[in-house]
């Protein structure tokens, strides 16, 4: 598999040798992966591994200092940040970025922005064409509301909703854009066990019923191994391992990144030993 042929294969998203440099820090260094159509692809890794940076590259908040990103045959490198949604890429944020002082319904309607086509003057006069477009927008939004069981919260203002519901509203807003690729940044963070289980069901439904490809960053390994088809483990901006959840979890480099090696434990022990003469037990 060479660099040049892979961008022509059937992958929905192809990343090649991505590199991001913030001053002297290499946040992402030589990361390559393919996200195939219809799969759930998960990025894992310890804090600071560069997972969210990869997300921000795909949604064009950052620009890569080297490497290329190709979405469905189109290079993302020169796409404007607001145009990414129009291509069919939607995302959620690690700490929820909803429109706080708007209702859930309005939030989802904003999600349909990329599909609105009416011009300024027709909106100013609210011509019949705008009205029928609004009805159609609403109908699409109601489909998402029904899919994620949000009927009860339709008219609630986001600022008053509990965290778990907001997380679902943000997922709903991303789905309202009718994406082909859905980027989920830590969908289970801040959720309790039940809510995480619900989230897992929904991610599976999104993949199986809606046929949307999912790329997610996640720390909860239970959720990861339940829903992911493939997992990419990163550490310090570099790829450690790529494969099924079980393969990646048992990969020695991944274990080393999360737990450290026995050498690390030994290196920690030495200075401690010089201060305290009491011999320490071997780390488990």
């Amino acid at each position: 598999m060479t660099k040049h042929t892979t961008s022509l294969n059937n992958a929905l998203l192809a990343a090649r040798d991505l590199q991001v440099r913030f001053g002297g820090v290499l946040a992402v260094n030589g990361v390559s992966f393919d996200v195939q159509r219809g799969e759930v692809f998960t990025l894992i890794g310890p804090n600071g591994a560069g997972k969210t940076t990869v997300f921000n590259l795909i949604s064009r908040i950052y620009t890569a200092t080297a490497g290329s990103l190709v979405f469905d045959g189109q290079a993302l490198d020169r796409v404007a940040p607001h145009a990414v949604a129009g291509l069919g890429i939607a995302r959620t944020f690690q700490n929820i970025e909803l429109f706080e002082h708007a209702s859930v319904l309005q939030n989802l309607l904003i999600g349909r922005h990329a599909h609105s086509a009416s011009g300024f003057w027709s909106q100013l006069m609210f011509l019949p064409s705008v009205r029928s477009a609004e009805r159609e927008t609403r109908r699409k939004v109601e489909e998402v509301i029904e899919f994620l069981d949000l009927q009860h919260y339709r008219d609630s203002v986001v600022a008053g909703l509990p965290y778990g519901v907001r997380k679902v509203v943000e997922l709903a807003r991303a789905l309202a854009t009718e994406p082909r690729l859905l980027l989920l940044d830590e969908p289970s963070s801040g959720l309790n066990v039940e809510e995480t289980a619900d989230m897992a069901f929904w991610i599976e439904d999104i993949k199986n019923d809606l046929g949307i490809t999912v790329l997610m960053v996640e720390h909860d390994m239970g959720l990861v191994s339940r829903v992911s088809d493939r997992v990419l483990a990163m550490s310090q901006g570099q790829v450690l391992a790529l494969g099924t959840p079980t393969e990646v979890q048992s990969h020695p480099a991944v274990i080393e990144a999360y737990l450290g090696t026995s050498d690390d434990a030994a290196s920690l022990r030495r200075p401690a030993a010089s201060v305290a003469p009491i011999p320490m037990k071997e780390a488990a």
Binding site: N95, E100, Q106, H113, A114, R138
Partner: protein, 358 residues
Amino acid sequence: MRYLFKTDYGQDIDLAKHDGHRFWYGLLLTALLLAPWWLGDYGLAQLSFILIYAIAGLGLMLLAGFTGQISIGHAAFLGVGAYTQAVLAAQGWPLPASMAVAAALSAAVGVVVGLPALRIKGVYLGIATLAFGFIVEEVLARWESVTGGNAGMSVGSADVFGWKADTDMSFYFICLACTVLATLGVLNLLRSPIGRAFIAIRDSEISAQSMGIRLAHYKTLAFALSAALAGIAGALYAHKIRFLSPDQFGFVQSVDLLLLVVIGGLGSVHGAFLGAAFLIAMPQLIAAGKDLLPAAVGQAPGLQAMVYGLVLVAFVLLEPMGLYGRWLKLRTWFELFPFYRRGMFKRQRSFQKSERLK
């Protein structure tokens, strides 16, 4: 209490959500149409000013209340509109044409002012617009060949294709028509994708962008629209006040407009009207209250400014949602009587936001 049984998406799209709305707003419009016959000359003049300020307030509400972009130089747009109208009216242009030019020119200036808003936000944007306000005031004072400089410039009565609106009553109806059209336009935009894009930018720029909203485009549009409305208000103002001088469009006027939207209630169309009514009624109330105060306080210069300041501080501290928020609470109290709780409108603590990308 009213329970709405919704059977059609159209019910959420319509401006009047139920018969109650139709009745009360119909009643309000009737009262306004009949105002010349039940209000005296003085009352009618004040009402015209309220309508004019309400149009300018709608503009600033769209910008500050719905798009979240502050402007402390809004009187400049009012001035551009007023002087454009004065110059064109003197050359015999009919009102609709000259008003359209006044709005367009203000909008164009608004686009120029909006450019820094693409890069700076918050207090810094406030300072940039403040500086712009001073620049325009200075231009109006120095460009004597057009504006008459500090000596001022008198304005004739409005001319609508040969029909002279030279009485208080006829001019009042022009103000009313402009206000109704401006309000409908703003309400239409707010229920369309453009208005939702404004709200999205106000609440979270980063996710607005990821929903496909072009920040630069919509921020510029918000500035242009806001300035155009201020320009229309300025055009009416010129005919109403009959004499323009640069100091009418200075810093104090800008602060008055900001006061209007904050006291009316940021983020509500009602707020623009309540704020305008407040702004026009307040000097009268202060004048009436003056006699009741001891002479040392009542006759002191700057009393009005101090009262305005105190009222603003009181609103920001006690009623951040403004007069409209107060009205909502009152209405809810009556609707739910006797079950209203004190904490019902309490602001929820917003959860931690992810770091803003600037």
